[in-house]
Point group: C2
Chain length 388, copies 2
């Protein structure tokens, strides 16, 4: 059996295994990033044209590309529909970025922590991950300049708005500074924004790609967090120099994105009905976020520190007494509680013990307090055992 060299880096996915365990109905899960089932919209299919059963264009449905380009221009992104590629969920953008840029040993620049599945995909292709620590308003700029001076990353992958896992939203000033540095060093930006619309406390910041003057960029988004992840409809928008390559990678990967989901997404984008749905979604998640904050204060104030996230789906906890949180999983699941250990969100997990990512959107509010109580007890017990 001779697999590719790449397969040796194909890690067992902790997320997938935790999510599988969290499927048991008795488990109180803080693990996934799932939208609340109650907020999945009622959708209609009756008017869908039968011709959508036919093969479609690799670029995606023309009307959907137009709608997404219009929305992006509304955010300040200079683009037209010819720069929009519809993808099978924004995870696919990460696959294409890896294919486009990464050979064995290619350096890429990431936040620490960063999105676990991005890290896994880039490492699968053999990337050398250079990381920049995140503060509460964005990356450490001194460290960023230093990394750019000392390394030659093929791209920087950033999640500047309600980052998964940390919840960080870059300030305006950090966005400007990051754009200026990427322009100065000529480094391509991949800006991932699945959570932009899940904004609970107002405030806004234009994407970093709007601020670039020279560097190439890929901006990627999805309807998974606002409409329905089951559709698997995401999109990327790129500078024209990258687009033809990305389009060919799309064709080689799966020919085109399913047209049924593209049609449904188009029924919502830019409509009054969608604006209304987003308002309801924000209010619903804001309520869950607030209840979670209260329950956390009750159960975790002695154990951990955190910032209250202004958007997205996660609280990111820093334990006051660090330990490898992966070792807590077994006991937590025995107590019917699931959570995401923080270590796998770092390129160097061993050097970053003591973080937990807790999802607040999915759990039944009736069981929230009980779940956090049990999780806190598991942590306390482990800390006692560690001290002993």
């Amino acid at each position: 059996m001779a697999f590719s060299e790449r397969v040796s880096r194909l890690k067992s996915s902790l997320i997938r295994e935790i999510l599988a365990a969290a499927q048991r109905p008795e488990v109180m899960s803080f693990a996934g990033g799932l939208p609340a089932e109650a907020m999945l919209p009622q959708v209609e299919w009756a008017d869908m044209p039968r011709t959508l059963g036919q093969y479609g264009m690799s670029e995606g449905e023309p009307a959907l590309r137009e709608a997404l380009a219009a929305e992006a221009r509304g955010l300040g992104i200079p683009c037209d529909a010819s720069q929009v590629l519809i993808v099978s969920g924004s995870q696919q953008t990460l696959d294409f970025a890896a294919k486009l840029y990464i050979d064995q040993g290619t350096e890429v620049l990431l936040e620490a922590p960063t999105y676990l599945a991005a890290l896994q995909t880039f490492q699968l292709f053999g990337a050398e991950c250079i990381t920049v620590p995140l503060a509460s308003d964005g990356p450490d700029l001194i460290a960023l300049r230093q990394r750019l001076e000392q390394h030659n990353p093929a791209f920087a992958y950033l999640i500047p708005t309600f980052q998964n896992p940390s919840g960080v939203r870059y300030s305006e000033a950090r966005r400007d500074a990051v754009a200026a540095l990427l322009d100065e060093f000529g480094v391509t930006l991949i800006e991932d924004e699945p959570y932009r619309e899940l904004n609970f406390d107002g405030g806004a910041a234009t994407p970093i790609v709007c601020r670039l003057k020279k560097a190439s960029w890929i901006y990627t988004g999805t309807v998974s967090k606002t409409l329905m992840p089951g559709l698997r409809v995401g999109y990327l928008i790129s500078t024209p120099d990258l687009f033809p390559h990305l389009l060919r990678l799309k064709q080689a990967a799966d020919l085109h994105t399913n047209r049924i989901g593209q049609w449904q997404a188009l029924q919502w984008l830019g409509t009054e009905r969608y604006r209304q749905h987003l308002l309801e979604l924000r209010a619903f998640y804001r309520g869950r976020r607030d209840a979670f904050e209260t329950a956390l204060e009750e159960n975790f104030s002695e154990l951990a520190q955190w910032n209250c996230p202004q958007g997205g789906l996660f609280f990111w906890l820093t334990l006051k007494q660090p330990l490898d949180t992966r070792t807590l999983l077994k006991q937590a699941l025995e107590q019917n509680v699931a959570f995401m250990p923080g270590e796998p969100f770092f390129a160097d997990p061993e050097a970053n013990p003591g973080y937990l990512r807790l999802n607040f959107s999915h759990i039944d509010p009736q069981r929230l307090d009980e779940g956090l109580q049990r999780l806190a007890a598991v942590i306390r017990q482990a800390q006692i055992a560690q001290a002993a």
Copy 2:
């Protein structure tokens, strides 16, 4: 701009460019592999559960996996649902096969000719393509043994039933012999069967994977040719040794296949309604195939030779006076006729001039004769110019 080494092998897709040109309504297209629009079934969506909007499992929907495993067992493939992975169209299986096996310079074994998009995907990852010529009843067995003795391919990729582009269906004896050789040399088989159900003249042959005793295998199929390609729902079935790796590659590629399409596919598989639809589809395409054969005899009997395909979607023509058929495209499109040149279906295009792939399923029967007449005229003119 530093792209990966791989990008230098990312070819402009001739297919995509021809299909784009063939979109013009005035073009008579023999180019694509599109199902006839008239045969897209009327589908219902009203009963689809709203919960399918949520994220799903990377493996695919459990009920669909069960249904596909049952169907595969009916063909003689020893498997259960745990070996079935739902993919975003069977093109995605090729992407996974490339990721699982191919490093720069890895040898893979292919038919000559073979499916263009498979060739492109494997070459994108850096494969060294070893090829075996196809006769009318399967691969040349002496050549196959020789290749296996002289090379060390990571896998053999074969399309034994109504191959694209050649239309060849391997005989029972060739299937047995191929299985025995792959077992003898311990080479993994990837068996691609999108056209199995498009069988016009009866006869059947069990898949080659059923005949393997030792070698690992991946069997891949789709609902694109029988139901609706726009759903982007395909599947693979693999031996248990490969499955965990393929599952992780699926998760890294796009998390999971869209659930809307999976649900629709499940409404059809194994039902009386689907059996009826397949009967109608076969009758419809048989009629188109027969009309095409008649029109070909009228227009091409002096120019080319061909075997009447017993299934699938294509005639494969061998010009009696070979020339590089890629050079005919421009003139053909000026005459509003599109076709697929044969050269790109070979790992060594320059050494294989003089073939054309003509799709018979999509063209309007009213325009069939006119289209073939014009194409024949373009060829004749080029041959005269060549001789001069």
